[in-house]
């Protein structure tokens, strides 16, 4: 049942003078929903970029879908961490989603019913069909995030990489985005890696967590990884994990 889809072996990454990741080895299986956690600047986004082929590891090997990562892979959907979308571009929701379909192809987009249908289906999947002609600048943060997920889904990827899709969202909108991602991932049997700095909304739906800190990583069930002992080892300094009112708090991580 568990077929490996992403494998990292002894991966080191140094950018300039700075060691970002050191000796990372892990395996992620097909259909898993993984939350990538860790403090700011720990290399969570960098890890996604390694999987996309935007960075090459300094040493070690990475295998994604049986191959070394290379940019331009339609089997991976990606939505990077986003600022508010530019209001001045005169782009509508359907234009942004359309990039996912053929934004990398030469020439202009000729009127095409089949293309429109694909785009509308993708918008429908994230409950945004009614906003198809809305300028992106007029959409709320949650709507913009859903739009970017729809864009990432258009090539029917096997792996979906989402970088901080919940940042800048209030709890209600974040909840909507989480259940949307969960629903789509289950329907499509997609592997999802989601970077976040607050795991609480995700803990009920994810399969495992990947915790990145201090150039090292730990992967496993959240109750095994997010423990005072485990994280103290990872950070190499005392960390306390507190469970209160069904939520997890990691204390002492910023040093």
């Amino acid at each position: 049942m568990s077929t490996p889809i992403i494998e990292l072996e002894n991966v080191d990454l140094t950018l300039g003078e700075r060691a970002i990741l050191h000796n990372i080895s892990l395996t992620i299986n097909e259909g898993e929903f993984i939350a990538i956690l860790g403090p700011n600047g720990a290399g969570k986004s960098t890890l996604l970029k390694l999987l996309l082929g935007l960075y090459k590891p300094t040493s070690g090997s990475i295998t994604v879908l049986g191959k070394t990562p290379k940019r331009g892979n339609n089997e991976i959907g990606y939505a990077p961490q986003h600022r508010t979308l530019e209001a001045d571009l005169a782009l509508r929701a359907r234009d942004v989603v359309g990039f996912g379909l053929d934004g990398n192809k030469w020439g202009i987009a000729l009127p095409n019913k089949k293309r429109d249908k694909h785009v509308e289906q993708a918008l429908d999947e994230v409950d945004m069909k009614h906003l198809a002609d809305m300028p992106v600048g007029k959409l709320s943060g949650g709507e913009q995030q859903r739009l970017l997920i729809a864009q990432a889904l258009l090539t029917h990827p096997k792996i979906l990489l989402l970088d901080e899709p919940l940042s800048n969202l209030d709890i209600t909108n974040a909840q909507v985005v989480v259940s949307l991602i969960t629903k789509i991932a289950r329907n499509r049997k997609m592997t999802v890696l989601l970077v976040t700095h607050d795991s609480n909304l995700l803990l009920p739906v994810i399969d495992r967590v990947l915790y990145v800190a201090n150039t090292h990583s730990a992967i496993g069930k959240s109750e095994d990884v997010i423990t005072s002992e485990g994280l103290s080892k990872l950070y190499n300094s005392p960390v306390e994990v507190v469970r209160a009112k069904g939520r997890l708090f990691v204390i002492g991580e910023e040093h």
Binding site: I76, A87, D88, L89, L91, D95, N104, W106, G107, K138
Partner: protein, 266 residues
């Protein structure tokens, strides 16, 4: 009323401005979208030095314009991604270019008319050969932008995802700057160095506020640009006032009410 059309210099002006306005509107849209309007302004100043140098050497100013602006495009393009820092470099570069422009004009010791036409345009005085050159470069620019249209728009909107999807964003950025350089060079002949914004940015900035969708915006910008130029040439011929004065006034006269009255797409 239309008897001015029988003069060949008026015909030349209409033909040249036809190609220039279309190219300028399309490139102008992408300049806005990519936050490169300042670079466009800088190119026009660099172009001034090129044109002045060409005049001093006794060759067609368009060659000087193209040579200097394309060199600047490659220079700015290879500086890298950091836009903010780039603006400082661009600023320093174009003041140097202006200094050389002054030097060339001083060495030329010719009529002030030449300097005047570089600064404010000479659309009513261009030769048939220049019309051909203008048409050629404008069509080439339009063709190339259409060729890279989708990846260019994608990478303007979201460079990170575009790169992940295999769009060569860095190469496209340099290629686009070169197209801006060419467009600036041919536009300088119509409106001059100092009024370049009226043709490049004016129509696109107005269109973006009036219509949704990239293709629709570019279409409207093209129509506006063309109308500004043609109406202005006509008015200038009738009244003997400078063409670029009319273009700038029209461009501003339409932009202002749109800016004030139409709510931005946010």
């Amino acid at each position: 009323m239309f008897d001015i059309l029988q003069y060949s210099f008026i015909q030349n002006a209409f033909i040249a401005s036809f190609f220039v306005s279309i190219g300028a509107a399309i490139i102008g849209y992408f300049m806005l979208v990519r936050g490169l309007t300042f670079a466009g302004h800088a190119f026009s100043h660099v172009g001034f030095a090129g044109a002045a140098g060409a005049v001093w050497l006794g060759v067609n100013p368009i060659y000087g314009l193209l040579a200097f602006t394309i060199a600047a495009a490659i220079g700015i393009g290879s500086l890298g991604k950091e836009l903010r820092e780039r603006d400082i470099t661009i600023g320093i570069m174009f003041t140097l270019a202006l200094a050389f422009g002054v030097l060339f004009l001083f060495l030329y010791r010719g009529y002030a008319e030449e300097a005047y036409s570089i600064l404010f345009g000479t659309i009513l005085g261009i030769s048939s050969l220049t019309v051909l050159i203008t048409a050629f470069f404008s069509l080439m620019t339009i063709g190339l932008v259409l060729l890279v249209f989708r990846p260019l728009l994608f990478s303007s909107f979201d460079p990170e995802v575009a790169e992940a999807r295999g769009v060569p964003t860095q190469k496209l950025a340099i290629a686009f700057l070169i197209l801006v350089a060419i467009t600036v060079s041919v536009s300088v002949q119509v409106v001059g160095v100092l009024l370049i914004f009226t043709l490049l940015v004016g129509p696109a900035a107005t269109a973006i506020r009036l219509i949704k969708g990239p293709y629709q915006t570019i279409g409207l910008a093209t129509v506006l640009g063309l109308l500004y130029s043609w109406i202005s040439i006509f008015l200038a011929a009738e009244t003997n006032l400078p063409v670029s004065f009319y273009i700038a006034t029209l461009s501003f006269g339409v932009y202002l009410p749109v800016r004030l009255l139409v709510k931005k797409n946010i």
